[in-house]
């Protein structure tokens, strides 16, 4: 994209032009770099509407698989917004953007939350309203949602969505994560277990990853042990049903983009078999 094409797109405020600008940034990192280079004070009011449009196009393009990691260009306006906008401006917009992704684009929800609020630059008090909104909206839209809706919100290629939604990437510092305990999300686990009968290869890996123990998770080699406490909390008397479902799923049918996920799932199947054996004994 030439400088002039970018400058023209940046100079207008119409919806159509904004859409073109978002498409250009999304499709080309060099275009995003040109945008970032030329962005000045007059561009600042454009940043949040532009990011909303970029996220919307990303949802349309990648559906449940939408993730900011696959949209490098989107970080150009994101960096500018971080530098130029105050949190009081960002927060209401961010809440609005995040909740747009529930229940159909949970991977993007996690991704947006991560890039805008995670890290040492943001405090728990800043995260709180965003997490509260996420928790509230997810509960409203997913707790009693049909299986089809619940299944559609998870990307079968990426089995860490549930884990990131519940515990976030800062799971090692639970005090920094509002609404980050297993108890906060037990309603979701039960909804997922019910929906997993419709789409086991999508939802069972999500549940398996989320129910791994902290100790196993911290190991550098693939290791899996079900978190007993979590199983009881989330599934209660249905935990045997969950374990049987895990065992009965063919690991080869998983559509994950990460080979480690298959290995984790196979390790979980082994652990589930042992657990069932103990329960029978």
């Amino acid at each position: 994209m030439t400088d002039q094409e970018m400058l023209r797109l940046m100079g207008v405020r119409g919806t159509a032009e904004l859409s073109k600008l978002a498409a250009a940034i999304l499709s080309s990192e060099s275009a995003a770099a040109v945008f970032e280079y030329f962005a000045d004070g007059s561009t600042t009011p454009l940043l949040l509407p532009l990011l909303s449009e970029i996220y919307a196009q990303l949802r349309r393009r990648d559906d449940a698989g939408a993730d900011l990691k696959n949209a490098e260009g989107s970080f150009a306006p994101w960096r500018l917004a971080q530098r130029r906008l105050g949190w009081e401006t960002i927060e209401p917009w961010l809440i609005g953007e995040v909740i747009k992704n529930a229940p159909n684009h949970l991977r993007l929800l996690n991704s947006i939350y991560y890039y805008w609020t995670a890290g040492e630059n943001h405090s728990r008090s800043q995260r709180e309203p965003v997490r509260a909104a996420v928790h509230r909206v997810c509960k409203e839209r997913m707790a009693d949602a049909p299986s089809q809706v619940v299944c559609g919100g998870f990307d079968p290629a990426f089995p860490w969505i549930l884990f990131h939604l519940v515990f976030t990437t800062e799971y090692e510092k639970p005090e920094a994560v509002p609404f980050g305990t297993a108890r906060d999300w037990d309603w979701l686990a039960r909804a997922l277990l019910e929906a997993s009968e419709s789409c086991p290869s999508t939802l069972l890996p999500q549940l398996v990853i989320a129910t791994n123990t902290w100790e196993s998770r911290q190991k550098t080699v693939i290791d899996y042990t079900f978190n007993e406490e979590l199983l009881v909390l989330w599934f209660g008397d249905k935990r045997e049903r969950f374990l049987r479902s895990v065992i009965s799923l063919d690991a080869g049918s998983l559509k994950t983009e990460d080979a480690n996920a298959v290995a984790y799932f196979q390790a979980a199947q082994k652990d589930a078999a042992e657990k069932l054996q103990k329960i029978r004994e």
Binding site: T2, D3, Q4, L7, R8, G11, A33, Y37, F38
Partner: protein, 578 residues
């Protein structure tokens, strides 16, 4: 003295006519009989074809002889130095007057009165016709070669009065100007001063001016002013560019002189002057001269011009250009020796145009030394601003860099220098570098062409800077091209806490040393060039000690996308970034 020269010329022609009339009177009938026999053979006795063929052959023969002799219609006007054909006409006309010697026996066959006068009239008609044809052809050629259109008129223009089209036309044209209406820089007024000096007999002038300073344009204006003021000058322009051999250069000077003089007056008698002069000077006597040895000195050879010039009351000003641009083996002194001899020849003077960097004692060679006027910086600034504004309007791009005021650069520069003495702004530096018509034209032409490709994709002011360096200081531009990656690396700020600082220091010192080697060649105005470089590549203050106020141009070779814009500016291509 003049009367003697006129009398000498008439006497010379009278002798030629006398000898010619004898030859025509007694040789004519025999030649006629012989040629009739030849024509009858060729035409197989067809009576009708005979006069046609004879007529064609005669005209062709006369045309060939006249082409060789280079007779011109202009020659006829000089009764003070009549052309040779006068003698031929007289020979034909007077041939019937010769006796047939019948009192001594059988009469000798001779041309009768009707044939003699008829032939004289026919020859005169053919001569006039041929000369007229040549003159008309030359005028047509000159008319077609002359610039037309927006530059009509006979007085100089002010830069501020020029339209976009006129400035565009002016910068697009590489050749010297054709007339005073194209003079923007005061050459027309300067030509008056030069003519006043030349008007005094024997005065010679050296005009100093750098490459592209407008020396050739000035000479053209000088010639036109002399013609307009009806001064008795003929100008002869000679270029020594590319000559390796000094003898060849001398011969070229003299040949041009004779050729130019022959355009006005019959010079058949001095046609061999260039060859004979260099033979004597070069001591390369040809075998012909063994039979008729030349005992004249080179000066006496040159003085053969004086009778002609005195007779027609004209003076020749030989303008010798590009002496300093001849080949390496060229001995400039030998041309100066020739010019020095010119001073001894009555009615012959010269103007020598030469670079100001040529070290020689001009006072020994010329009475006057003049420095060609340089365009006023306000004019250069106005033209630059005019062209830049037109280019900006032409493409209607969104320009992110503020355009600096070029037309007011002088005023701002003076004010800045007043506040911080020694400080120079890039605008003043660019204008200073472009105060040569050729550099100005070339830089702006390049700017226009490059902007057609790069419009809106680079800063137009940065492009003006690179175009200026490329045309007015090519060595500096080559340095930037060759050292671009190091310059960009050296202008990066050292990363905090890294060990990059010593490396950067070494790199900057090395670059400074390399730059000093370029500067040592003294091919450009160092201060102006360094000011431009510092403003173009912000952060290169380690290269020099000039004081300026650089500011980062958004679409210039500094900042986050420095390399991209630097490559666009230096290659004048957009593709390098894609």
């Amino acid at each position: 003295m003049r009367a003697i020269h006129i009398l000498a010329r008439w006497s010379q022609l009278a002798v030629y006519a006398f000898i010619g009339s004898i030859l025509v009177a007694y040789g004519g009938p025999r030649l006629q009989a012989w040629s009739e026999a030849q024509f009858e053979t060729v035409t197989n006795g067809k009576d009708a074809a005979l006069p046609i063929l004879a007529g064609i052959m005669t005209i062709a023969l006369v045309a060939v002889v006249h082409a060789f002799a280079k007779f011109r219609i202009q020659h006829i006007r000089w009764l003070s130095y009549p052309p040779l054909p006068f003698a031929i006409v007289a020979a034909f006309a007077t041939a019937p007057l010769w006796p047939s010697f019948r009192q001594f026996g059988a009469p000798v066959a001779r041309v009768d009165l009707a044939i003699g006068l008829g032939t004289a009239a026919a020859y005169a008609a053919i001569w006039l016709l041929l000369a007229l044809t040549v003159a008309v052809a030359e005028q047509v050629k000159m008319y077609l070669g002359r610039g037309r259109g927006a530059w009509q008129g006979d007085s100089p223009r002010q830069v501020r009065d020029l339209s976009d089209d006129q400035i565009g036309e002016w910068i697009a044209r590489e050749r010297p100007i054709d007339g005073p209406s194209e003079d923007l820089f005061g050459f027309w007024d300067f030509s008056k001063r030069l003519l006043t000096r030349l008007a005094r007999r024997g005065h010679t002038i050296v005009i100093q001016g750098g490459f592209g300073a407008g020396k050739t344009s000035l000479i053209r204006l000088l010639e036109q002013r002399a013609a307009r003021d009806r001064l008795d000058f003929y100008f002869v322009q000679v270029s020594c560019w590319g000559f390796e051999d000094t003898i060849a250069a001398q011969k070229s000077v003299l040949s041009s002189l004779v050729r130019r003089l022959n355009d006005e007056v019959d010079c058949l008698s001095i046609r061999g002057l260039p060859r004979e002069y260099v033979s004597i000077v070069g001591k390369r006597l040809e075998w012909l001269y063994l039979l008729s040895p030349i005992d004249e000195t080179p000066l006496q050879q040159l003085q053969r011009l004086s009778p002609i010039l005195n007779a027609i009351r004209r003076r020749i000003v030989v303008v010798v250009e590009d002496v300093d641009r001849a080949g390496q083996r060229f001995d400039i002194g030998s041309v100066f020796a020739l010019l020095s001899q010119f001073r001894e020849v009555d009615s012959l003077s010269f103007v020598l145009t030469i670079s100001p960097h040529q070290s020689m004692d001009f006072a020994k060679l010329c009475e006057f030394s003049e420095i060609i006027p340089t365009p006023a910086s306000s004019d250069v600034a106005a033209i630059c601003q005019h062209v830049r504004d037109a280019l900006v309007r032409k493409h209607a791009d969104i320009l992110v860099d503020k355009l600096d005021d070029l037309a007011g650069a002088d005023r701002v520069g003076e004010l800045t220098a007043l506040i911080v003495p020694g400080t120079k702004l890039w605008t003043s530096a660019v204008i200073e570098l472009l105060r040569s018509p050729r550099f100005l034209k070339r830089a702006l032409r390049r700017l226009s062409e490059a902007w057609d490709t790069l419009h809106g994709e680079v800063s137009i002011d940065a492009l003006l800077m690179t175009c200026t360096l490329r045309e007015a200081a090519p060595a500096a531009f080559s340095f930037l091209q060759a050292e671009l990656s190091d310059i960009l690396a050296a202008t990066r700020s050292a990363t905090y806490g890294s060990d990059e600082k010593p490396y950067l220091k070494a790199l900057r010192e090395d670059l400074r040393a390399r730059w000093k080697r370029v500067v040592a060649r003294k091919e450009f105005d160092r201060r102006s060039v360094e000011t431009v470089i510092l403003n173009l590549f912000v952060g290169t203050s380690f290269l020099s000690n000039v004081e300026t106020y650089p500011k980062e141009l958004k679409q210039g070779p500094s900042g986050d996308r420095a390399e991209l814009y630097a490559k666009r500016l230096l290659t004048e291509q957009l593709e390098v970034s894609q």
